[in-house]
Each structure stands twice: as C-alpha cells, then as structure tokens.
C-alpha cells in the first residue's frame, strides 16, 4: 500500500520563475492538502482539494494555486517566485469516508535563488 508520494524531491528556481509540484495521495484517500514548512518552523496550511475543487485556503497569496485530478492526485503551482518561497512543501491526504488522520508525503524542497 503506497503512502503519499511527491515529486520532485528537490528543486532550484530563480526569482520570478514559476514552479509546479506534484502529489499522489495515499491509496484510498480522496482529499489532499498542501503545507509550506519554512526551515525551523511548523508546517503552514496553504489549501485543500476535494472533488477537484479548492475547499479551504490558508493565508497565502493568489500566486499559490492548485489543481486536483480525477484520480485524486494534485498539483501545487507557485508563480512569480520570491526568495521567501524557499521552503519544504508538504502534501497530506486523508479519506473522507474513513478516519480524519492525515498522512504526509516526504515533501519537495524548493530553493529560490
């Protein structure tokens, strides 16, 4: 039973560029949330996708957008990258028909130069 997977593992971009990160939820899960974790801090909620729609959103600008596909996988897009966007981006999933326990992927380390 595969857990939450994310790609790529690491990514280096320059300011102003755009980036797309990918997430496949744990088998049987239909809800995907994205979190940003700055170095030395706890994860911060970006947004959540369910039934291919954004259901909840945290305090992040519109430069952060996402998408969920029919197979429940998800993408996080960040436009006009800033140095402050450098962080570990985590994807978490859970199944609405089961427990509310959210399982995290290994994350994508994004470095903006």
């Amino acid at each position: 039973d595969a857990g939450v997977t994310q790609s790529p593992t690491h990514l280096i971009k320059t300011r102003g560029q755009q980036v797309t990160l990918r997430c496949s939820p744990k088998s049987g899960h239909d809800t995907v949330s994205w979190y940003q974790q700055a170095l030395g801090q706890g994860p911060q909620f970006i947004f959540q996708y369910y039934e291919e729609e954004e259901r909840q959103r945290g305090n992040f600008p519109d430069r952060f957008s996402g998408h969920q596909f029919p197979n429940y996988s998800s993408e996080l897009n960040v436009n006009a990258l800033l140095l402050g966007d450098s962080a570990l981006y985590l994807c978490a999933s859970y199944g609405t028909g089961g427990t509310d326990t959210q399982y995290f992927g290994p994350g994508t380390r994004l470095t903006v130069l």
Partner: protein, 114 residues
Amino acid sequence: GESVGLHLPTLSVQEGDNSIINCAYSNSASDYFIWYKQESGKGPQFIIDIRSNMDKRQGQRVTVLLNKTVKHLSLQIAATQPGDSAVYFCAENKGKAAGNKLTFGGGTRVLVKP
C-alpha cells in the same frame, strides 16, 4: 487569535529515560489534537491523536494527555530510544466543518543521548 505552541525548543534525554514534550493551545474550538514526528529530510509522521472529549490516550510507548482546563497537551515517550531523535509537533484539527485543517506549533527537537 488561535495558536498552538510549545514550551521548549530542544529536549535532551538519556537513552532509556522517559521523555515528556509539552504543548499549549489557546483555541478551545478544536475537534482533536495530533502529535507528529519529523525526522531530518522527511515529512511529518503521525504518532497519536486525542479527541477533545478525552483526557488520555495510550499507544505503543507513547501516551498523550489533554488538560482542557489549562489548555495543555503533552506527549510522553517511554524508554526513549535513539530512533526517537526527531522534531515533534503538536497540531490542532478543528474538524470536518473546517476541512480538517491542521494548525501546527513550532516544534520541539528531541535529542537522545546514548
């Protein structure tokens, strides 16, 4: 405002001793609380959770205590092992109505000395 915070940034413990990690929260409107363990270079790993209507819950070598009177949460790890070295986060979940959004504290680093 709402917050989930931790008392100590680093906890150093001797192998075999018990560890206690503390967490304070300020928002009472939460459905349940969760403890996650994060090792270097990895994503947070679920340890144990506790519903807001419970005071105590036990797992394998771990116990979580919830004191709603003083809004305090703790994680106890029995017989701490080198593999327990990691950063531990408490998180608050406000439930399905809020989309099960997790609010994390800043984390406590546990260092296990041999």
